[in-house]
Amino acid sequence: MKPARFEYIPPTTLEAAVAALAAANGEGKILAGGQSLLPLLNFRMARPAVLVDLNGMKELSFIELRGENVAIGALTRHREIEHSPLIASRLPVMSAAIRHVAHLAIRNRGTIGGSLSHADPAAELPMMAMFYGASLTVQGPAGRRTIAAKDFFVDALTNCLEPEDIVVEIEFPILQHDGWAFEEVARRFGDFALASIAVSIRRGQFGVGEARVAVMGVADTPLRLEHVEQRLCEIAVDGRTPDRFAEMVTSSVSPNSDVHASAEYRKHLLGELAKRAMQTVLAVKG
């Protein structure tokens, strides 16, 4: 047997799941798609005493339009997001990003709640939560509360939840924009990204009226670059905009070096991706 011994609890209600986690006294773990947790269990890098399996709760799996937002249940699989016409039409940047998440068999099983909770600094869905300014609904022993994405991601592989908290659903505000782009480089299609950028703009009377910019792979958490968004609305749009944008983006990050890439390379890569993304965004007729 690869994983160490654990007690397996497959609850059918959220209340029972929260209670099981609370009873485990910090020794419990939630099992969603298992695509990040099972490797840790197989290596015995994680040895929870109790595993609370959410997979029996089908009501946590949905994608629906809710006013100006798209709400997604925590147990919704990557594949369902990838093939959702609603996501494609209302959250097109997410639709592009999800194709870069892992490989076929892993997308068939992995969930959005698991990906956000795992908080890998090079994962696409946490980046999308930052990009869209998503809010997460979390159920804990004291009931439900809402957490903004920017408060949720604390550090690499670290979120702000208590051990008995469960992410229930995530709301993504729809952007009323006219041009967007998602760019990513990974060593191999489906691998974790070395660097990635998402950009979306609404044209104003002169130049850019509103902008959204997020990056990942270049810090311990995904980042939304609000000061770059602001600057974009202040500058003239001309042939030099992609280069100026790349400069703004790279000067606002300081990536680390690791076995996959040096800090200089990541920064250079991000600059090139930023330039490409802005070229795409501006090519769309506004």
């Binding site: 197989n42 490989h103 068939n108």
Partner: protein
């Protein structure tokens, strides 16, 4: 703590009592049911050798617990065809030399099955993206892509 698991594998129902929750689906298939066609390489989701179908979609059996397969329908490489009557995809792997040592082949075939059943596979890029999670140390992939392309064309002709 052990659990009773009732699961359909390749069309046959198996009722197994005393399954430890920490038993991986890959080890359940190989050791408990004796279906050693499913191969085990890395056991952390990277190589794809252990890929099987669960309710018609490919999954990593090394990243799924056996108890999670309860009530599901699992298809392994043994469920595709027999040595006397290979299925279309298996035949095309043979035709196009899509295998050498054969270690990655069960995973390649099960990923290929998912691709053929659920995706249009209009372009080679789609096939290559679909295979990106399966490693092969022998073939160089070209012949595997050719085998799947050809199986997709044959399936289109037959519908």
């Amino acid at each position: 703590m052990t659990i009773n698991v009732s699961v359909m594998v390749n069309g046959t129902r198996h009722d197994v009592s005393d399954v430890e929750p920490r038993l991986l689906l890959s080890d359940f298939l190989r050791d408990t049911l004796g279906l050693t066609g499913t191969h085990v390489g890395c056991e952390h989701g990277v190589c794809g050798a252990c890929t099987v179908l669960m309710d018609g979609h490919s999954i990593r059996s090394c990243l799924t617990l056996a108890v999670q397969a309860a009530g599901a329908e699992i298809t392994t490489v043994e469920g595709l065809g027999t040595p006397e009557a290979l299925n279309v995809l298996q035949t095309q792997f043979r035709e196009h030399h899509g295998l050498q040592c054969g270690f990655c082949t069960p995973g390649m075939l099960m990923t290929g099955e998912d691709l053929l059943r659920n995706y249009p596979l209009a372009t080679d890029e789609e096939i290559r993206e679909g295979l990106s999670g399966n490693l092969c140390r022998c073939t160089g992939y070209q012949n595997i892509v050719a085998a799947i392309r050809s199986a997709a064309a044959l399936r289109r002709e037959n519908v």
